[in-house]
């Protein structure tokens, strides 16, 4: 966790977001912000609207009401690839890699938004295209080194165990060198050791590259250990927002999320 997070240095702010699908209200009047350089967690029980929230930030869903401010500017209606260009990268709850391609190639696709050479010069691998690819490859190799996945560099990702695929997906998101990294349940389905590794990587990414991270997570223990601030959703509504300790002791949260009785 970065000690250098400044309170008024806001990277992303969502204001009064409401999203509904027909009669189903997925999100209702949600507001919170993400500060530069912090690890921000969004938690909540199943169906609370966590992934919807991420999809809104990501530009995949468009809320009926509310505003999104990114990097000090009001963001207008945008498609996901435009949002990506703006500097927001993400991973998915169900891994969304190109299974038949190698780890290396998957990471290279993460660089796509940074590439400028046209299709023909890329095919011929001449001039600027060649220079560019070498540059991008260098960056990708740094990420491979960072995530310690050298041994699977040339393995098709479909053949990799689940935990490794998750790591490759994180790598692809990192390859985009974004300002904000959205992680949708990065530890879901992992065993304890894989979880610990992933926690280490999330913290290292935050520390080494200064990347701001917003993550959704089920595992309360993990969330409380690695995030600076936590926002809690339940049935599309915001229940609480604050430091892990504040959230942990919030009775509404205990009721809704942990389901522990108290009197």
């Amino acid at each position: 966790m970065q000690d250098t997070v400044k309170e008024d240095d806001i990277l992303l702010e969502v204001r009064n977001i409401s999203l509904s699908f027909g009669g189903v209200k997925a999100l209702e009047n949600i507001s919170f912000d993400i500060r530069k350089g912090e690890v921000r967690a969004i938690i909540g029980p199943n169906g609370a609207g966590k992934s919807s929230m991420l999809n809104v930030i990501n530009g995949f869903y468009h809320p009926q009401e509310g505003e999104i401010w990114f990097d000090g500017k009001l963001r207008h209606h945008m498609k996901p690839h435009q949002v990506a260009k703006l500097g927001i990268a993400r991973t998915f709850q169900n891994i969304a890699l190109f299974k038949g391609m190698s780890t290396l190639d998957n990471l290279m696709t993460g660089r796509y938004i940074k590439m400028h050479a046209n299709l023909f010069s890329q095919m011929a691998w001449i001039g600027p295209a060649q220079r560019e690819e070498i540059e991008h490859r260098q960056k990708v190799e740094e990420i491979i080194d960072f995530l310690k996945i050298q041994s699977i560099r040339k393995t098709p990702v479909g053949k990799l165990p689940y935990g490794m695929q998750k790591r490759v997906e994180l790598g692809r998101a990192l390859a985009a060198e974004s300002k904000l990294l959205l992680l949708d349940e990065p530890m879901a389905g992992m065993n304890l050791e894989e979880k610990e590794d992933m926690c280490r990587f999330v913290l290292d990414v935050n520390e080494q590259f200064g990347t701001t991270i917003a993550l959704i997570e089920h595992d309360m223990g993990v969330v409380m250990d690695i995030s600076n601030r936590v926002v809690v959703l339940d049935y599309g509504k915001k229940l609480a927002d604050g430091s892990p300790d504040e959230v942990r002791n919030n009775e509404e949260v205990i009721d809704a999320y942990l389901g522990v009785s108290h009197d």
Binding site: R137, Q138, E141, E142, I144, D145, F146, K148, Q150, S151, R153, K154, D204, E207, Q208
Partner: protein, 644 residues
Amino acid sequence: MNDTFPKLLLRNARQFADRPAIREKDLGIWQTWSWQEMHDEVLDFANGLASLGLKRGDKLAIIGTNRPRLYWGICAAQCLGAIPVPVYADSVAEELRYVLDHAEASIVLAEDQEQVDKVLEVKQDVGHVTGIIYDDTRGLKDYPESFLHDFAEVQVRGRKHAKEHPDFLQQEIEKGQGSDIAIILYTSGTTGKPKGVVLTHDNVLITSLNSAKEDRLTEKEDMLSYLPLAWVGDHIFSYGQAYVTGMCSNCPESQATVHWDIREIGPTYYFAPPRVFEQLLTNVMIRMEDASRLKQRLFHHFMEVAKRCGTDILDGNHVPLMDRIAYKIGDLLVYAPLKNTMGFSRIRVAYTAGEAIGPEIFDFFRSLGVNIKQLYGQTEAAVFITAQPDGEVYADTVGKPSPEVEVKITDDGEVIYKSPGVFQCYYKNDEATREAKNEEGWVMTGDAGYFDDKGHLKIIDRAKDVGKLKNGALFAPKYIENKLKFFPEIKEAVALGRDMDYVSLIVNIDLDAVGNWAERNNIAYSSYQELAAHSRIYAMIKANIEQVNRDLSEDSVLSDCQIHRFLILHKELDADDGELTRTRKVRRRIIAEKYDVLINAFYSGATQCQISTEVTFEDGKKGTIDGDIRIEDTETYEPLKAAS
């Protein structure tokens, strides 16, 4: 005189200036340092260490995997007359604490954050550590400790130090002598605390020089440095021999990528323990199962050819012309591509040591033209005690005494030696030194062995496990058991016979291998016990034992160890029942107590024996297995040569 490693570095920088000295795969690309570049890096770092206060006689602990900078740390410390102390990278904090404390290390060179964290954890218990230097900066930039230094930053300090004291380092290097302590290597030690083996420059340098000459190693060799830095073998192969010959050590990208990296480097000189070769052979066989029909037939046809004449061609023996031609075609179609996928295309010399290697594994690689040889060594000897010369390679020996090494067998059958590589002492442990080395400089190996007719040393067992039969002949149970365990049908074997008239054997069959065979031969069975008692299984095991007896009959020393009687046990030996250790070593004493009924039956001539054994199930419950066990006699053979 180039009698120390720093002096050799200066020589190599002049003599092999532009030749590669060390490579490391980083960011997917092999980075190379020439001898001149490495010389500069080492000297800068040595100056930096001096500016941090490291001086003659101080210790520099080095912890991490095979990284160029850690190898440079070894030489840099030696430049100052300080003593490098490498520590195994996977040591837990407690082991690290022990070594740092015992060796009185003053500065620690650590590979990365993981290792730095370990050092920090134990630092307050270890008073004399004044500084920590790290290679990989990742995750470390926000550590507040002022005694933490980045490797590159230490080199910057070193360059400044060199400007202020231009002659300092040169003088320090010249002060060094061959009799100075070069390194302290802590042996991992299966029992008790690790012991620090003190080796001088002479020990390491002369041994490296002799062994390099023996195998005609030159500056053109490439060697893969992937075994632990703190292990004497890596120190000799990747450091000692590299400095002596000017060859290049190659550091893999990570431990997990070694099998890719070896293909890219194609080493000419290589070391691996037997299990690596075993694994490689298994992989080849599994992948051949999946290959197309044509490829399979080609493979099996040409492997037959290789079996027939491959080793003879490698050893330069006479081979008929037709076989030579067939072998050449096989090389084009099968052997060369196969060697290429394993990274063995360019190998001139490969060594294996540490434990017995299965003869079929050994012959497989040699028949392909990979010159694997065996050696026998110890940390206390700076590795080389014996090694197999080219053209005299056998699966069951460890070779002839290395140059300038004297080897003797004591009356008890223990192997002892004297050599220029013999260690000075165990650091701060005179008692252990006296136990291992006598006044005349002979070192006890703790291994029992003998010289065969060809003058090759054979190691048979740990000396304390070797006994005698009633007639006084040598009885080496583990040697016999190992021979039997090379058969896939036999999982465990226990040889009995100490102070008895003849040797008997208790066998455990391998349920997977034998079960598979039973299925193919329509033999129905419901349990291990039933399968084990089957007469055809008995016949199969009997044939295996007789094969071993034939081998033993040709052995001049162990021909009396032929097995006279055997039985197949009605249950599998199990660690839960205390019969094996957790690492699957046989516990002889417990087996002797538990099965004394069977042992009595062996030597009373009975052919049947009733036994009831208590077993512990996996859930901790106990039960008994009863059974009648058949004891059968086996054929024994006249010794080919009477033992003299």
